[in-house]
Subunit: 236 residues, 4 copies
Amino acid sequence: MSDPSALDAVVDDLVVANHILAQQGVLDAWGHVSVRHPKNPDRYLLSRSRAPALVMAGDIMEFDLDSNPIDAKGRGLFLERFIHGETYRARPDVNAVVHSHSPAVIPFSVTDQPLRAILHNAAFLAEGCGCFDVRDAGLTQGLLITTNRQGAALARALGQRSVALIRGHGNLVVGEDIQRATHRALYTEINARQLAVTLSFGRPIKYLEPDEAQDPKRLADAWEVWKAAVEDVSRP
Amino acid sequence: MSDPSALDAVVDDLVVANHILAQQGVLDAWGHVSVRHPKNPDRYLLSRSRAPALVMAGDIMEFDLDSNPIDAKGRGLFLERFIHGETYRARPDVNAVVHSHSPAVIPFSVTDQPLRAILHNAAFLAEGCGCFDVRDAGLTQGLLITTNRQGAALARALGQRSVALIRGHGNLVVGEDIQRATHRALYTEINARQLAVTLSFGRPIKYLEPDEAQDPKRLADAWEVWKAAVEDVSRP
Amino acid sequence: MSDPSALDAVVDDLVVANHILAQQGVLDAWGHVSVRHPKNPDRYLLSRSRAPALVMAGDIMEFDLDSNPIDAKGRGLFLERFIHGETYRARPDVNAVVHSHSPAVIPFSVTDQPLRAILHNAAFLAEGCGCFDVRDAGLTQGLLITTNRQGAALARALGQRSVALIRGHGNLVVGEDIQRATHRALYTEINARQLAVTLSFGRPIKYLEPDEAQDPKRLADAWEVWKAAVEDVSRP
Amino acid sequence: MSDPSALDAVVDDLVVANHILAQQGVLDAWGHVSVRHPKNPDRYLLSRSRAPALVMAGDIMEFDLDSNPIDAKGRGLFLERFIHGETYRARPDVNAVVHSHSPAVIPFSVTDQPLRAILHNAAFLAEGCGCFDVRDAGLTQGLLITTNRQGAALARALGQRSVALIRGHGNLVVGEDIQRATHRALYTEINARQLAVTLSFGRPIKYLEPDEAQDPKRLADAWEVWKAAVEDVSRP
């Protein structure tokens, strides 16, 4: 990137996204967020192996789409980085990826109960979720996704959607930018919580219909307040 | 208003209401709170487009009942301000309006399970809730309410009640003053949470009967403690 | 009390109990806690009308068992103080009373689902709860308990137990001292939450049997940590 | 231990584990965490009787496997320390023990609903949980475990597993080190919460299969962020 300050801004947003999703309870000690490199679409940016709430700008590393680090400098790598590389390879429209163990999503991942949109803020779920079981791609280390082959299989399960559930593990959420991916990761969790309660009523449910879905408005306003809530933490 | 400090006090309460309902989890990054102008019943006060937790006195703008800004000064406007204008037009007794995505309310908005009062503090729900689906008024932008026609249809669904559910979106809560509207927005959420658990028992429920309902006592005491909880944030 | 510092210690504990139960989510803006006067069993101590989280030593007032204030000094009184006076009158063994809108208790108060002990820390519920509907004692102001006649009827429903549920309103919790009453108010809430989940399994439940109940150990240790959590607030 | 600073590090980790599990809501005012003495396998380290959130290095005491204190110095002892001594005696592979009243676990402890792993982070539950009712070992003080005989019976119910549920009381969680025991105590709670929701769907559940289980990766990263969250508290 010819303008280093532009890259700095991208890195800053990536750090903030880590902190926001940790504070909101979507990311536990293990999830991760990445962005595609703004100047080189065959590269992505992801933290060294570290809990999201603690990630700082200096932790951000660069990877190629095979998920090889460009300059590791001895830093630890996320075992599951292959999720990111294969998703960027399969989806040129995607510029940000979240992998989390989003707690309210797990019940949907281990049953055949579909996770569908009941809330307008989760309109991206109106198209449904991909469903992935790493067992179908061959186990390597438990339910972890630790190879490009497994990552590619997950990306196929995602298809053209925004979210794929990963059985007994969590989910994969993508967006055309970091703000959308963050919003979708958060509202996948919120919609899942609300749908679980709705299902308990045992009554017919009016899900969002495709023509009722739309891109969320005023994401910059949401980003402003989410960032304000973590800003004491996000300063290095 | 001839006494500018009186208007300042109204604006201060409006700012505090935004912060209270954000802190209590009723308002997310997108909801909004308004008050009717204390001197001009054909006007109302509402923040510029901004997340409720961050609203400050300088963000408050004045609108007419068609939801045109009086003096926008280039500030961004809430797309859904028409909810407020049309509610004030239809309900001369209403002086404060909350529109939220109150999380526990969503399950009731997408099923035919009635949201009724089981808690004395939610006595305003003893009269039931209006139910609104923007689809019935014609979609414009997803499930958002972006025109006076849609706002007026929602106000009709509200009728003379305190609360209307908005399908897949949230609710509309009104009160004769900002303290009552804030109280009702909060206790609609709390009553919804408690009713969901109650329904899970699968046993007959003793709802509040109309002669058991009453206006809540000591709202000023509640306001004092809610305000104290946000006061570090509410200072500009 | 001949030793004023001893009374001060009682008042301090009463203030702390208010703060603890507010912080733990048992008391909202309206509940109240009282203690019997340590030197005069025909008197009790209760805050002026104020949200529990904000109560300070200077707010504590003295009442007789008819719930007349001894020296009001113009301070506002809780409308429902009659709950306290009549409970102290009916139960000479009781020296502390909590009235709350404990959220998880409400579902049990509006159905015939019994609230029984499943957790050893809620062993005081092994004896069951009294159940009270103010309607049966005659309504005065909604579901509020605003007369000695209603308070006495509630005390009769309590009987010799530790807890009575109040339909659509909350509960009454008593103890031989402020630490036990605080503990019971908290663990009534916790046991209610856990029992609601347990009931959702639809399987037979092993409730605590009477010979398994016992007085909780190390209440002073619990009090120490609960107090530490509120101490910044509890300092006047 | 010849190197006193090595023992200090073990004690520091034990203090931090107490604070982490208290902050995460696994330990209330009463639970406890211990470690086997790093140099003497017939001894273990456990706090004096104190709420976990307040435990400091100076509170840590040494016990033999009969749970006699080596040098009590007049400090109060946990009534239930026998859980620890008998577990270390029965399980030479275990070097850390947590006893909690983990709230989401209680519903499973009072019904025959099995608590099994649905989340990869709770893979240690793939082997199932031991189930213990102190009644079967003879009651002494309510449902408390206050003798070596009761502690040994609990250790037998645990068997070679990582977790045993204790009816109406809580659970016992063990690990080969303090980080694993802390992780397992936390994820037993989280998996229990998620399984309760999953069960409410009334659909077939894909539990973790034994060949899908694995030891969690990057526990040091998790420990770093959990510790950071309590560090202001954990400094004596």
